[in-house]
Symmetry: C2
Subunit: 513 residues, 2 copies
């Protein structure tokens, strides 16, 4: 049947067309069925939506992307033919019933997801099928490869590529900002691509952006790495494994994360990494609650790495409090830079950098790797390398910690009792920092004054909230009052928390990549 | 924060608002998070979508339903406050991990689905959770009650209500058109609400609509039933258990149907039925492939009925060929009316009507129930009652079968060999009838000339395709040539079908209610 084109103003990446209800019935089609559109020598398969009034009979509404691809204007005649169900949808249905998918079936699914030809309902059913039925290691490897292959590649010629990844979840985790220049200072190649925050107060890309640009293209990244051996850039700008961004849109509202392994490893594959250390923060308020869980995940990463030709080591790290004292992009950038430039910083931060870095050095059988990592920080060698990287990425190499602007509206939260810090609530800290404006407002966040086991006197400051906008300060302050942030007491008491009668609806889901 | 309203022209039942990406980040919200909108004394919780260009900063795009409910115009100031995650979504997540839901949790989910405050992704995850984890009988009962309670009720005062339901799947199944007047002719009350076709060539409402109006409101239905004891109307017009229509939108593209039990029984509850017979067509090309499957399903219907205060009997009926000879709304209406008026019709059709009807009479301990049902058809008593019902619903009581218009473009498909009919392919017959235009074109469909075990001579007509439009005839004819519709041979041969090398993408999913 032929229809008159009616371009619509909707922003949508999916190739959606809208038919009048009666026309759809004439074609024998329903919502989400597919049609083949033909005009001149161009053709395109699109997803059907149906409207009762918006589109008159005989017309076909075209979302922006369809209109562009077919290059049609209002009133142009388009032939519309009922199309087959996409093969990828048949594979998704197969997985929905618990079957194991073949490599080429997974590839077809990921191809269609990246090409945006599957609907939200269909992609959701795939994500939930993975969540419910799990994946074999072969499926996970196929998925990782398909996700890497459907995106761009960062290929540093003639270099063995090292990489580091954290599965995230600990506020204030600025490890990469120290580890990358330290490793690069040993002459190893570490082109670190990072994500921005999804559910946290700051991602590595958000932190680094306080010091220099992070949205570099592939050629710019290669040039930085060629000169300095390292970089700290935003992976989103270079479209590595773009399927992951689509999965995140589904996973976030459902608070599920069945694609963690292929998500991480597809990106390592996309930068052609050969040696990778993966940080698995563990504990109450982290993604992995117990060491056993962390070990299981770590073993899976190692096994998956073998299938992808990547040597992986994992470390389960202490995750029951934020790392260092600063939370929020600018505050963290300051803390990282100060540590690099002075060679001195919070013990837990430096300790973690040294430990994870030494794992990378051990891949190369470097002797006394821990000591060497420690020396690279303390001596300022890593700091010197950081200046080089900042400069090559287009920043000011002489930037000082105080130069990084932080929020000017601040408030200190004081302790109502004396004792020592028995616990810190990562979820609450994350929530307050986000209410304060992080990561969107780079200067917003939290500065901790006390950490686990520190003695506290009544009236002493526990933490300080930084904001750029006063209404956000109010919002954060309200949260600080309502949430149990820091536990101060004489000794561990039996009552951890009072269970409120009303169910709490706050979302504490950690989805980081 | 305050935003300027920007009404949008989108048709959408869901309360969706669109924010500029930067504003959403300022609020600390993501796609599908919820916001509370406040203006004057009105307020509403809406689902967030995010746009990069469509909506300028400081504005909030409002879908039609939001604009109406808040009664705002362009530029009006709306306060936007981040809202909690809906409780129903927490319950859905609970089911997603395989937990059993409580009655009030199920009620909250169904409430929000009917109020359209859950996104497609969220409803999809609920449907798939039910598909994957199943439901306990208590959950199924709670779901049925919630689905009934969130819609309208048809309450026939002071009458014991009888009802009949088929889970569908057999082309040409016009049983209700004969059973309802027959049962009503015994003085029993049977206010039959039916669905229109979803994936079949005709639903009962589509068939009846060829004889008289079926879109009656509740008062009109009551009046018809008061005068005639029965009716045959479209349930969609009176919004019984409207959640089901929303579930169907998700189930159809995924080809899954986890809600069959609550879908059917919520509608029986909504009409306050006390005695119900359920027809479960069984066999290759039906929904239930084996008698064991049919028995399991039947037992579940009976058990669920007990929980809902409904006495249920089930019958597994022969489902390996169409019922009667006519397929398609008008052709079927003709066949049903002719049988009622002459007292004579296809053996399988009359036999099924007699059997299912006798189950209803048995609830009332009527003696010789089968013979009485048979007599009611043969004597024309049921036909007389049908005329009354047609008249009360606003049709012409003297309508004759020939008065019902059928398609004028027809073609006969002939046998290429002699033998007898070994099998009929329900899926192929359904597909061809739909290609021919059914159910949209009421006069389109198929008339069978031969059924199972009938002798066939080479060149004899096997079936005839009826269409209202010539391009649909071409389409149906192409299907008739490509699909294996009727198997004619001397005896059952070992080869049932050749397996094509290429995967077939045609959708043969039966979703009927």
């Amino acid at each position: 049947m032929f229809f008159k084109a009616r371009p619509l103003e909707f922003e949508a990446k999916k190739p959606i067309v809208i038919l009048n209800k009666d026309d759809a019935e004439d074609l024998g089609t329903k919502v989400l069925d597919r049609v083949l559109l033909k005009i001149a020598k161009k053709s395109l398969v699109a997803i059907i939506n149906i409207a009762e009034h918006l589109i008159p009979r005989g017309e076909i509404g075209l979302y922006g992307s369809v209109q562009e691809k077919l290059n049609v204007g209002f009133g142009d005649k388009i032939e519309v033919i009922v199309a087959d169900t996409p093969k990828s949808l048949l594979h998704i249905r197969k997985k929905l019933t618990g079957n194991i998918l073949k490599t080429d079936e997974i590839r077809e699914i990921i191809d269609d997801i990246v090409k945006q030809t599957l609907s939200d309902i269909e992609i959701t059913s795939f994500v939930i099928a993975l969540y419910n039925h799990g994946m074999t290691m072969n499926e996970t490897a196929a998925l990782s490869m398909a996700m890497a292959d459907t995106g761009k590649r960062l290929d540093i010629k003639n270099k063995l590529v090292f990489d580091k990844h954290s599965i995230g979840g600990i506020p204030g985790d600025k490890t990469s900002l120290l580890l990358v220049p330290a490793i690069a200072s040993f002459g190893l190649t570490i082109p670190k691509t990072s994500s921005r925050s999804i559910t946290s107060p700051a991602g590595t890309a958000d932190r680094m952006e306080c010091l220099c640009p992070v949205e570099l293209d592939i050629d710019e990244i290669k040039s930085v790495v060629k000169k300095t051996n390292g970089c700290l850039v935003w992976g989103g700008a270079v479209e590595l494994a773009p399927a992951d961004d689509i999965f995140i849109q589904i996973e976030y509202p459902l608070s599920i994360d069945p694609l963690l392994l292929p998500s991480v490893m597809s990106k390592k594959k996309a930068v052609n990494a050969r040696y990778v250390v993966i940080d698995i923060p563990t504990g109450k308020g982290a993604k992995m609650k117990t060491i056993e869980e962390a070990q299981d995940l770590g073993k899976s990463f190692i096994e998956l790495g073998k299938k992808l030709g990547i040597k992986v080591e994992c470390a389960s790290t202490f995750g029951e409090q934020p790392l260092g004292y600063a939370i929020g992009p600018a505050l963290e950038a300051r803390e990282a830079l100060r540590t690099l430039l002075t060679g001195k910083g919070p013990d837990d931060l430096v300790g973690k950098v040294v430990h994870l870095g030494s794992v990378l050095l051990d891949f190369k059988r470097v002797k006394n790797s821990k000591q060497k990592m420690y020396d690279s920080i303390r001596s300022g060698k890593a700091g010197e390398k950081m200046r080089e990287i900042i400069e090559e990425q287009g920043g000011n190499p002489n930037v000082k910690p105080e130069d990084v602007p932080v929020g000017s509206d601040t408030v200190k939260i004081k302790s109502s009792r004396s004792g020592k810090v028995l616990w810190l609530n990562n979820n609450a800290i994350r929530a307050i920092a986000r209410s304060a404006g992080a990561p969107k407002d780079k200067g917003a966040g939290i500065l901790l004054y006390k950490k686990l086991n520190d003695p506290v006197k009544k009236g002493e400051t526990l933490f300080e909230i930084y904001t750029e906008k006063s209404y956000k300060l109010e919002r954060a302050l309200r949260d600080a009052k309502n949430l149990n942030v820091v536990g101060v007491g004489k000794s561990y008491e039996m009552v951890l928390a009072e269970i409120p009668e009303e169910e709490e609806h706050r979302k504490y889901f950690i989805l980081e990549r």
